[in-house]
Amino acid sequence: MNRFVTANPSKCIGCRTCEVACALAHSDGAGVEGLAPETFKPRIRMVKTANVSTAVMCHHCEDAPCVNACPNNAIVYRQHSVQVEQERCLGCKNCVLACPFGAMDVVTVPAVRQFAGMTLSLGVKAQAHKCDLCVGRDAGPACVSVCPTSALTLMDRDAMDETLRRRRERAALEAAEVAA
């Protein structure tokens, strides 16, 4: 099963700590001082409506619409998650339209090439931009570790089984109550 981060709307207080942690986890070590409004592109977004506050991000679907929609096979299943191979991304935005959660975006980043110790600008490069589960970060998903109300959890097979077990138990209890 693919792993994914889920948000509990009855715990989220709409504070956006997760957004900042996500942006920082993908800042190539630039740290907070590298953050600026123009370049702030977290892969998790806090959404507030009249009745709900919650964070929205990639579900790492098992049969992912974005994977299916990509004409260049840039989106793949890897390490129990859905990952983008940025070199292959064309920036065609098919995946953006395919994702039912609005979790995918296409952004442009400055493209550079190293040549003889110099950094050469190659204009801009498009990137399909979404939660990568912070693969490569030792401490795991950055958003999960900072959320002040523990509204975020990383769901893997074990966590999912545990949730299912609890749900079934509750259903059984409720059924027993109805029968009684």
Partner: protein, 723 residues
């Protein structure tokens, strides 16, 4: 990488954290397992440290003392000797000419710590010879202190922060916990998970309202009517604890007479709430085996704040929800050390440790300890009196430490006039601020992260914080600066470190005596009262239901509801209520210089408005709009949202362009002198030319930022530069 233990400098939760330091620079913050935060931090705690590094995003750090010899001159950098001599001479002259009461000082409820505040009030009382010392509790929880001291005998939270998650009912009144204290919000969520009922009284659909079992969206300005109706239900439905009332309270008959009129039906007309909901709220509250009331600025920033605080404490007394664990009354302090500045006696009425200046024995004790013949016996001025006192010539000089009243006080035009009328203004701060622009002398201090000390969390817990990096520039610790000034004014004062100051004040304050630096080592938190060296302190107050009042009983108090002061008219048909947002803090001198926080929210800030009101005014979401009141006019950005109630708009108070305090009214509570920030009549207007408006915001913002930073760069051009 080095790690240095600190306490978060933002809110009163008092979260313990490590500052991560690399090469003399703070590069991160990580949570520690402190008593109040248990391994959590919020947005500001995690990402609000880089202001220390002088990012200059909003304003520059101050690096040198700066003086201007006349108001039309520019600031010039001067040496400490010259700055201190100048200040001593000026203050001395003003004192000789107009008397000590012509001078006022402020403590700082922010990063400086308790020791500095102690030294500031000592300087004010023993050297200047006046009780004119106050702090920004005046504009926030002043009414909680004043109210609770009368009804229960102690102005602080009765129970500790960790207890909140073990209570069985939380009554949240005028308190936006998610934005003010996110880590306390977690406690409320946990309480709910453990089966507690949550009742929220707030006109807006704040985050807690969303999670509540019962949400009472009362009309803005109807608090007293609702609290009286609550009492009415408790009494008339027989829900109150008769035995508790008989044994531990007084004033019941008088109280009952007043609240009798406030039937839920009568209150429904004032509050706009269904009578049945008012009843239901009290049935839930009274049925809970333990219940906690938490409140914030939605209770205190009113012309009738003190009365409502007394009323809320009455609900706890009626139901016996005091004097044991997991119950109580909680005025949850906003700024990280506003509890501390009150503890340290930067109040015009009290010495440190809540000892009255009007008590001759107490005065004699402090006079003896401080080596002066006598100390002033008259209660001093309040911060909110300042503009008026300056304009009428009673106040001639002011020494403002770590506060920015030119941003945070109500009716800023009035505040500016007050500063201009004064003969001498000293501002001591870490940043160039709007207030510093009015100063004659600016004294640069070390920042949180550059010094150590003790803070008081909202729940009375004293906690130590340590230094992480060396300060850059020609700056000194706040308490060192004050000591130098005292010495120059003929009162030799010298401390080697904060512990010396702490031990001096411990000896003078019986309720703090047992709180030693050793006990607060590491993650130690010691809640006062703590009278003995072997006591761990008091997690909750009023043990055995003994209240700190003559006779030991709690006072039941009610009074008639008074409508707010400002008048809604056709010209100004909407209510403006000032609030806060999670990512910015106080005047924003700190958070505005933090890259992450400034990335999430910047000028001109938002005015939130209900879709119905917005539609009637032809305003669309995210458009710039004018907001004006009888006192001023500012530009802001509309956020059209159903969470805002119809008829009211909300603005946060840290913006320079969208400065809501240009609009607020200088109407104060008669006792606490806290302003009615929560109710000003305003008009909101659409702007046809949005392009012009966007440019206008950018230009004005650049002008203001430029003005502040130029004042510093011009002055320090000749002084040594500090990277």
């Amino acid at each position: 990488m080095e790690k240095h233990m600190a306490v978060c400098p933002y809110c009163g939760t008092g979260c313990k954290l490590n500052l991560l330091v690399e090469g003399g620079k703070v590069v991160g913050a990580e949570p520690l397992n402190g008593v109040t935060n248990e391994g959590e931090l919020c947005l500001k705690g995690y990402f609000g440290y880089d202001f220390i590094n002088d990012t200059k995003i909003l304003t520059p750090r101050l690096r040198n003392p700066m003086l201007r010899r006349s108001r039309d001159a520019a600031f010039e950098a001067v040496s400490w000797d010259e700055a201190i001599d100048y200040a001593a001479k000026k203050l001395g002259e003003i004192k000789a000419k107009y008397g000590p009461d012509s001078i006022m000082t402020t403590g700082s409820s922010r990063g400086t710590g308790n020791e500095t505040n102690y030294v500031m009030q000592k300087f004010t009382r023993a050297v200047l010879g006046t009780n004119n010392v106050d702090n920004c509790a005046r504009v926030c929880h002043g009414p909680s202190v004043a109210g609770l001291q009368v009804t229960l005998g102690n102005g602080a939270m009765s129970n500790s922060i960790p207890e909140i998650e073990h209570t069985k009912c939380v009554l949240v009144f005028g308190y936006n916990v998610a934005d003010s204290h996110p880590v306390i919000a977690k406690r409320i969520i946990k309480a709910k998970e453990r089966g507690a009922k949550i009742i929220v009284c707030d006109p807006r659909k704040i985050e807690t309202a969303r999670l509540a079992d019962l949400w009472l969206p009362l009309n803005n300005g109807s608090n007293m009517a609702l609290v009286n109706a609550f009492a009415n239900v408790l009494i008339n439905e027989g829900l109150y604890n008769k035995e508790y009332v008989a044994n531990y309270t007084e004033g019941f008959d008088e109280y009952k007479k007043i609240v009798d009129k406030y039937t839920p039906e009568y209150a429904a007309a004032i509050t706009g709430l269904p009578a049945e909901d008012i009843r239901e709220a009290m049935r839930i509250y009274a049925a809970a085996p333990s219940a906690t009331i938490l409140w914030g600025m939605g209770v205190t920033q009113w012309g009738q704040g003190v009365d409502v605080v007394k009323g809320l404490s009455g609900l706890a007394l009626l139901t016996g929800n005091l004097g044991r664990p997991n119950v109580g009354v909680g005025p949850v302090r906003g700024q990280n050390n506003v509890q501390g500045s009150c503890d340290m006696g930067v109040l015009p009425t009290e010495f440190p440790g809540y000892q009255k200046v009007t008590d001759p024995e107490i005065r004699a004790k402090f006079a003896k300890a401080w080596g002066v013949e006598s100390l002033p016996d008259q209660i001093g001025y309040r911060l909110t009196d300042v503009p008026h006192l300056a304009e009428t010539g009673k106040l001639k000089a002011m020494y403002i430490m770590g506060e920015d009243p030119a941003q945070t006080e109500p009716d800023l035009a009035l505040v500016r006039k007050g500063f201009e009328a004064m003969e001498f203004v000293i501002v001591q701060d870490i940043f160039m601020t709007k207030t510093a622009m009015f100063a004659d002398l600016i004294l640069p201090a070390t920042s949180w992260g550059e010094h150590e000390g003790v803070f008081s969390a909202a729940d009375r817990s004293f906690q130590r914080f340590t230094k992480a990096v060396d300060a850059k520039g020609d700056v000194k610790h706040d308490w060192e600066i004050i000591s130098l000034l005292a010495t120059a004014m003929g009162y030799p004062m010298h401390y080697n470190n904060t512990k010396e100051i702490w031990d001096e004040l411990r000896e003078l304050c019986p309720i703090f005596y047992g709180v030693t630096y050793e006990k607060m080592e590491g993650l130690g938190a010691v809640p006062w009262p703590c009278r003995d060296l072997d006591s761990p302190g008091s997690k909750y107050l009023y043990e055995g239901n003994v209240f700190q009042r003559p006779g030991g009983k709690g006072l039941l108090f009610a009074t008639e509801w008074r409508p707010p002061k400002d008048q809604l008219t056709e010209e100004f048909p909407l209510i403006l209520c000032t609030v806060r947002e999670v990512g910015h803090y106080s005047c924003r001198s700190m958070t505005g210089n933090c890259a992450a926080l400034q990335t999430l929210a910047d000028e001109p800030g938002y005015v939130t408005i209900n879709p119905k009101d917005a539609k009637a005014l032809g305003i669309r979401d995210q458009e710039l709009v004018w907001v004006s009141s009888r006192r001023g006019k500012v530009i802001s950005r509309a956020s059209v949202t159903d969470r805002t109630n119809k008829g009211a708009v909300y603005m946060t108070y840290q913006w320079w362009i969208g400065a809501c305090n240009e609009l607020t009214i200088h109407a104060v509570d008669p006792i606490a002198k806290t302003p009615e920030y929560k109710y000003a009549a305003v008009r909101v207007e659409a702007i046809a030319d949005q392009v012009w408006a966007e440019n206008y915001v950018q230009q004005e913002y650049a002008k203001l930022k430029g003005g502040l930073s130029n004042a510093v760069t011009r002055a320090t051009k000749k002084a040594p530069a500090y990277a």
